[in-house]
Amino acid sequence: MSNVKRRSQFSSVLHRFAKNKLAVVGVIIFFVMAFGALTADIFFDYKLQALDQNAKDKFLPPSREHIFGTDHYGRDLFVRIVYGGRISLIVGFFTAGFGLIFGTIIGASAGYFGGKVDNILMRIMDIFLAIPAMLLAICIVAALGGGLFNLLLANGIANVPRYSRIVRGHVMGLKNSEFIEAARASGANDKRIIFKHIIPNALGQLIVQATLTMAMAILSVASLSFVGLGINPPTPEWGSMLSTGKEFMRTHPNQIVIPGLAIMMAVLSFNLIGDGLRDALDPRLKN
């Protein structure tokens, strides 16, 4: 693959992606979220505004000062949502990255070495796949306890099998193709063949999967926190905000509407980007 060709392919993918209005909407939501998460500390004081209780300000309705209102401890909902977005983004990227790295290693080894290695690795992956991701994450949290790091690990592990499947499929498909034979004939070693030739071929599908994983991970962490197995108050995580908010939803519906909308927008954004990328990478699939 020459550089020129790859660039033109990249730019045509970008062009198709940019023509997809929904995907652009997804990107915009993502940038707003990312901007908030990255710059929150410049505009807000985490401890003062997102954690400290201030009983006299509790349940203030939305106003110019508190655009989403305040919660039962008088904390500004908007500030907490922005900081919650930071957690969601960390969760999304870490989970996708974890799955991507370990899934690629496992899948590539299984596919490339074949035989016994393949059999053992893929049977283990099958076992993980047979357990619904949510339940597997619950079990891992049960083992390690809650908290952000353990949640990341739980979701990361639960997502490894999908990536290993994709990579293995590509490796198996390409292993005996002519250009791999040619690379081998010209003296490339196994590792080089896998990373220089096979992985780039699987990259498109992996990126799409990664975007969708981010959406799933955000949902999963919010769910776990909601049932009390994830990030606990007072940390401003969207799921746990919903969990506390449900106590007051009858009188103050904004306590659940706002965090729920935040989760939905975040998930929607990654889904839209993922769909857009898939269509842009493979226009045949578009419909």
């Binding site: 339940l135 083992a143 769910s223 799921g239």
Partner: protein, 325 residues
């Protein structure tokens, strides 16, 4: 066919052993002592030791696992650390609630998603197509528990159409099922739509048009029959997702199902309960997948002959004579 089913059921045994081992290992080999978690942080060391002895926590890990799994195959899932009651009894008590919600969710998602996806594909680019696609996008993004909460707020607390708690009547299950079905409906709609569109593009549809077949007949006979396979596949895959979703939905609606029990068990590392719940879920999913595979063979003649040829092989020549022109 009977042989096929039996074979598949037998193949589930190693999977279940594998799953139970993985979960057992994850929960057992990590820090955190169930006896301590149940008795509290400042419990009497003597009592703690007695509890450990009672749970068999002093044995080595492999011994404990083998003892557990052999028990499972004899129908003994052990005793719950938390309640001291036999796990199987507890599970069977809660299974119906979870089954109703999960199967209800699948059923609803198929009943709503498939026709919606069909209309969306047949009338591509129409208003209803855009509506279905937007709906599907939103439903995939909505967190199940949030949808559940909103419905609880609106239909139970404001409108009082449904009872807030309890499990006595069908009315208790309506909202959980609807909330759970939401995301499955979205995937079902999207899959049905794209499978139909894919089938519409195939050469045999052009052939059918060239034959002068009417458009409704083409859609229902040629296209639908070919797109049903991915539709069933997704319905089967949704079972797993639904089982995960029931955990949160049971929590929202306070339904004493397996999900709620799992959450309570997880808090105190109730190992037999956790592992047995997962085994139960895996078995349930396995059976649903088997049903999906059986339905496949009725829908796609190419798959049917695969199973039939196994039987016929003996009395047929290696290369069927008809294959040649």
């Amino acid at each position: 066919m009977f042989k096929f089913i039996l074979k598949r059921l037998l193949l589930m045994i190693p999977v279940i052993i594998g799953i139970s081992f993985v979960i057992f290992a994850i929960v057992s080999l990590t820090p955190g002592d169930p006896a301590q978690l149940i008795l509290g942080a400042d419990a009497d060391p003597v009592l703690l030791q007695a509890k450990r002895e009672e749970f068999g926590l002093n044995d080595n890990f492999f011994m404990r696992y083998i003892k557990y799994i052999t028990g499972v195959f004899r129908g003994d899932f052990g005793k719950s650390y938390r309640t001291g009651l036999p796990v199987l009894g507890e599970l069977l008590l809660r299974l119906p609630h979870t089954t109703i919600i999960a199967l209800g969710g699948i059923g609803l998602s198929v009943v709503v998603g498939v026709p919606l996806g069909m209309i969306s594909a047949i009338k591509q680019y129409s208003f209803i197509d855009y509506f279905a696609r937007t709906l599907a996008l939103l439903l995939t993004a909505i967190p199940v528990f949030w949808l559940g909460l909103l419905m609880l707020l609106f239909f139970v607390l404001k409108l009082r159409w449904f009872p807030a708690t309890g499990t006595g009547s069908w009315r208790n299950y309506v909202l959980p099922v609807v909330a759970l079905a939401a995301s499955a409906t979205a995937t079902q709609t999207r899959t049905t739509r794209s499978a139909m569109l894919e089938a519409i593009r195939q050469d045999y549809v052009r052939t059918a048009r060239a034959k002068g077949i009417s458009e409704p007949k083409i859609m229902f006979k040629h296209v639908l029959k070919n797109s049903i396979l991915p539709v069933i596949t997704i319905a089967g895959m949704n079972v797993g997702v639904q089982m995960g979703g029931t955990v949160v939905i049971e929590n929202v609606f306070n339904i004493p199902g397996m999900g709620n029990m799992l959450i309570n068990s997880v808090r105190v590392k109730d190992i037999p309960m956790i592992v047995s719940t997962i085994i139960m879920v895996a078995f349930f999913i396995g059976v649903m997948n088997l049903i999906v595979d059986i339905i496949y063979t009725f829908v796609d003649p190419r798959l049917k002959t695969q199973y039939v040829t196994v039987k016929k092989k003996k009395d047929q020549p290696l290369i069927p004579a008809q294959e040649k022109i």
